[in-house]
Every structure is written in C-alpha cells, then in structure tokens.
C-alpha cells in the first residue's frame, strides 16, 4: 500500500487539472438547447399544445359537440380564431379537443409498440440463432403488409373505439422497432465492455439491463419521437377512411375528412387540422434530431 500512497498525491493533483467537469445528462441537454434552437422551439410548441388540449374546457367559451346554428361556416375572426364549421362549432375548440385523441394516439400505441419491439428485438439480437430467426421472420411478415391496410383489417375485426385504434397501431408498429433494437443489440454485444462483463461472468439478463438497454436508449428515444408522427398520421388516415374515430368524438384526421365537402366555401375547417398535423409531425422530427445529437456521447467529448 505504501508504494502507492506516496505517489497518490501527485497523481491526484494532476488528475484534477486533467479531468473535465462532471457532465451529466442535464448539462448535455442544456448544451444541445443552445446549439439546436429548432429542437427547443419544437419542444416548447409540443408542451404548449398538450397544456392547451388539457385545459381547453377552461380556456374556450365554446361547446365542442353542440354547435350554434346562427354561426355556421364563419370565416376566422376575433371571436372564432379559426372560424366555425358546418354545425356552427368553433374550429379551434374542436381542434384542441381533437388534439387530446390525436396526441394520445401518437404516444400510447407508439409506447406499446416500443415496449413490444424493444423486448423482442433485444432478445432476438442477444440470443441469436433460432430465436433470432423466428422473431425476425415474424417481423418481416408484419413489415411485408402495407401497414395502413393491416391497421384497417384489425379495426374492421375489432370494431371502432379509441382502445382498438391503440391496439391496431401498436400491432403495426412493433416490427420496425424490433429491427432497430436488434441491430443495436448485435453491435453492442460485440463491444469490449459487454465482452468484459461476460468475461467476469455477469449473467445475460443483467448484461441486457445494465449494458445493452442503457446504450440502446439514445437510438430508441429518437425512434420514439420519429414514430409518434407516423402514428398520428395513421390515425388521421384511418379516421379519414372512416374506420377510426367516430362522431361525436373528434380527432384531427376526422376533422380533415368532415371539412372536405366545404373545402371550397370554408377551407379553414380542413386546413386548420391539416396544419396542426403538419406542425406536430415536424416538431417531433426536429426534436428527434436534436435529441439524437444531444445523446451522442461522441459529440460531447470535446
């Protein structure tokens, strides 16, 4: 012990000057925030949208379901910021109520498909061999179907309802997640630190929990933000095609569909939800890009 004690103080002083500041996730996110203003703006927009959707009963003086016949098809004005629809309902109010479903449809099925996909993908990637073969062929089959068609089939079978939409979209989405999780796992499995854990004798379950999942996380978070818009779009398409959300509920896809017949006279009915979909999709993409940069340790070493 004495051998090292004598040298330790010198080394300690050197190290202190050498080692950079402790840099946690918070610091990195803040640095990213400074670098990527677009991602921050997107995050702010999404948060505001969620808040507005939650507090819309308080914020809006209008009823979302029962209209006022005297104010049918009015153009945007001070009273109705985005105009009114064919039943005299305030489009902005309906848009925010619709956001509840559209955002939920973006997040919940994506979350479910992420959980299924990550579990199956990591198992396939780590186990390899037959397990890998079976899981991945199953995923191939899922991916071979046009996803919208598949979702439609599931919806027809299960019937309408928000829950069934969640289920249909989750079943459609897991396969692509599994592919990403599998390829991440395979490359992580070959890293020296996983080899090191194996050489120590760490059991597979713990290797996956401690080494593989945390290191997959950045890729998965990015994938999550990128999958949300596709779920929102799928729901919009399903509702547009008449197998998704049914009246008197509203979702953005349904609103676009309902406004279709008035596109010429009252374009705001369709355009407002369309713009909302576009903004949310873009925001998610920007946020995903920003997160990918922020979570990449290689971009943060210098």
């Amino acid at each position: 012990m004495a051998l090292f004690k004598s040298k330790k103080d010198v080394l300690s002083a050197d190290l202190a000057s050498q080692i950079g500041e402790s840099e946690g996730m918070g610091v990195r996110l803040r640095r990213m925030a400074r670098k990527n203003k677009l991602a921050v703006a997107s995050a702010v927009f999404l948060v505001l949208l969620v808040l507005a959707a939650v507090f819309v009963p308080v914020l809006s003086p209008y009823d979302a379901v029962n209209g006022d016949a005297s104010t049918r098809l009015q153009a945007p004005s001070a009273a109705h910021w985005l105009g009114t629809d064919e039943m005299g309902r305030d489009v902005l109010t309906r848009l925010l109520y619709g956001a509840r479903i559209s955002l939920a449809v973006g997040v919940v099925p994506t979350m479910i498909s992420m959980i299924i996909g990550v579990a199956l993908g990591v198992i396939a990637g780590y186990a390899g061999g037959k397990t890998d073969y079976i899981i991945m062929r199953l995923a191939d089959v899922m991916l071979a179907f046009p996803s919208l068609l598949l979702a439609m089939v599931i919806m027809y079978t299960l019937g309408d309802g928000v829950m069934n939409i969640f289920l249909a979209l989750a079943l459609v989405g897991w396969a692509s997640v599994a592919r990403v999780a599998r390829s991440e796992t395979i490359s992580l499995k070959e890293t020296e630190y996983v080899q090191a854990a194996k050489s120590i004798g760490v059991k597979p379950g713990r290797i996956i929990r401690r080494h593989i999942l945390p290191n997959c996380l950045p890729a998965l978070i990015v994938l999550f933000t990128l999958n949300i818009p596709s779920a929102i779009l799928s729901e919009s398409s399903l509702s547009f095609l008449g197998v998704g959300i049914k009246l008197p509920n509203s979702s953005w896809g349904l609103m676009v569909n309902m406004g279709r017949q008035f596109l010429y006279n009252a374009p705001w009915i369709s355009l407002a939800p369309s713009a909302a979909i576009m903004l949310v999709v873009l925001s998610c993409n920007f946020l995903g890009d920003g997160l990918r940069d922020a979570l990449d340790p290689h971009l943060n070493n210098e």
């Binding site: 330790k8 300690s12 190290l15 090191a196 760490v202 713990r206 290191n215 340790p297």
Partner: protein, 320 residues
C-alpha cells in the same frame, strides 16, 4: 521446474465459420502450459490467433476441440453453471481502454460489477468501500468514484480496467494488449503497475502482445505464435538472446531500434504478407515467408519439440 502448473491446454483447436463453408483456422492444435505465478507472454502479429487463444483458455470462447485444464479440472467438460467458480479465478484486461468500459456507467459501478455479480460484499456500502480500496490499489484517487469513463485519459481508464480485473482476486489474468493503445510514458506506468500487482497478489499473467519490447520487460517465458500455431516457447532471456525459430529471429530484427547508430539499411527483412488463416499453407505455415524453407517444410508440418531447454517448431532449427 518446481512451480506447479496452473492452466494447461492440450491439442486446442478453434475454428470459426467463414464465407462459403470455409473455416478460419484461428488456433490449430496448440499445447501450452501456464505455471502458477509466472508471466507467460503470447507474441505474434495481428491475425495470428493470440487473442482467440487467450479467450479460449479462460473459457470465454468454447474451443472446437481439445482440452483446457485448470489445476487438474477439465474446464471444457463443464457446463456454464459449473464453470462459474473457475471463471471467477480468471479475468481479462482489454486492449482498448476506450471501448472496454461502459460509457454510461460510473467508475464505481464498473469496478463494482464483478463484486455484485458474485455477491462478494454484504451490502451496497460495503461494495462501494471495496471499490474505493481497489481504486486506491491501482492509483485512481477516490474522489473520482462517480465520474464517467470519458472524463479520464487512456492510462487512467486502463487503471480502472485493471481494478475491475483484480476485484475478485483472481489467480490468472489474461492481459490482451493492455498497453498498445497508450503513449510511451503512460505505457511504462501501466507495466510497472501490473508488475507490482503481480507481486502483491501472487498473480499469474498470460500477457498477449505484438510488441516485443513490452514482452521483454514483462515476460518470464515467451510463446511465439504464427498463424494459429506456436513456433517457439522458452524463457525470455533465451528467446531474445538466441532465437531458434527463423520467424522469431525476423520479428526481433524488425524492431526499429531507438538508436540512430544502429541503422542498418541492408538488414534482412521478412518479405511478403501474412497468409490468410482461412487457407493456411500446407506443411510449416511459415514456409511461404521463410527464406530457409525446404521441400520438407512445404509438406510436413513441424511439431513443437524440445531443443536447448525450450520448445521449437522448425525442421531446420539445429542447422540455422
């Protein structure tokens, strides 16, 4: 030799599948013994199979054929579960200190992993205390316990890797090119540390390296490997003073000497490239590069035989 044998490999073979039903002959019929307390160096150029051999010896890669015995127990006959108590006794230090530490774990968690895996300490606090002691042993001040790997330099990371390897107080440590990614001055620090630890904890090292200078400093005995086979095994002093195998001689001569007076523009250099381990040459595997090769070398593989107090695999060792 009075020292007892710690690990012994007999007729060890490791082949990997390659494209088109071919095989990579990474390790071909290797016999090797490691004695308790010694440092045995495994030297060879890239692709010669030295890393594969090291990992096969400690059971990290299952061999295609052959046996590995650890103090009389045949490890190749054991199940994964039965292997666990032996695996504890054999640890690995990796080449790349940047890749061998999980970037998302703190130093404490990295060094604690082996302790937690085998439940060495009764609780979390005791584990952390043990980690502090281990870090102290390798010269990392304890105030860096909760730092992440990327905040350290290469040498410091390698110290952390060493702390992890000695955490379970193993008998044998396989050091796989532990200093080749480090700067010269840092290299010496790490090599000194490895020697100190060996003395304090009576460790046995299998020291894998392509750098003959480093091996000269570390090794008691040296095993030279070429394309999956051993060419020469002997004490460091013998092999460096008078190499018997032509390949060993060329390796030693190729080292660039740090003395401008020793320039030799005419010295014999080994010609050609290393043959592919997918399709190794028949006979002696070195014959395609060997200037002394005869017809016998091209057809009959030489066996590792005793000569002048060491082992050598060359038909013409005596005459050359």
């Amino acid at each position: 030799m009075a020292e007892k044998i710690l690990l012994e490999a007999k007729d060890l073979v490791k082949e990997f599948p390659a494209k088109g039903r071919k095989k990579v002959h990474a390790v071909s019929h290797v016999d090797l013994t490691i004695r308790a307390g010694e440092t045995l160096a495994l030297v060879g150029e890239s692709g010669c199979g030295k890393s594969t051999l090291g990992r096969t010896l400690i059971g990290l890669i299952p061999p295609t054929a052959g046996t590995v015995t650890f103090e009389g127990t045949d490890l190749t006959a054991l199940s994964q579960k039965e292997l666990a108590p032996y695996r504890r006794q054999m640890q690995l230090i990796f080449q790349d200190p940047y890749a061998s530490l999980d970037p998302r774990m703190t130093v404490r968690d990295i060094v604690a992993e082996p302790l937690e895996t085998y439940g060495v300490c009764p609780d979390r606090a005791a584990t952390t205390q043990r980690v502090r002691e281990l870090l102290d042993e390798v010269g990392i001040p304890e105030e860096f316990l909760y730092r992440y790997p990327h905040q350290f330099s290469g040498g410091q990371r390698q110290r952390i890797g060493i702390a992890r390897a000695i955490a379970l107080r193993p008998r044998l440590i396989v050091c796989d090119e532990p200093v080749s990614a480090l700067d010269v001055s840092v290299q010496s620090q790490i090599l000194n540390l490895l020697k100190d630890l060996q003395e304090r904890f009576a460790l046995t090292y299998l020291f894998i390296s392509h750098d003959l200078s480093v091996v000269r400093f570390m090794a008691d005995r040296v095993a030279v490997m070429f394309l999956g086979k051993l060419c020469e095994v002997g004490t460091g002093a013998d092999v460096y003073a008078r190499p018997l195998h032509p390949y060993t001689r060329f390796l030693l001569e190729a080292i660039p000497q740090a003395d401008p007076r020793l320039r030799d523009d005419e010295k014999n250099l080994l010609q050609g490239e290393i043959p592919s381990p997918i399709d190794p040459p028949a006979g002696c595997r070195f014959h395609t590069r060997c200037p002394y090769a005869t017809d016998r070398c091209r057809t009959e593989p030489p066996s590792l035989r005793p000569l002048e107090g060491r082992l050598v695999a060359c038909h013409r060792a005596e005459e050359l």
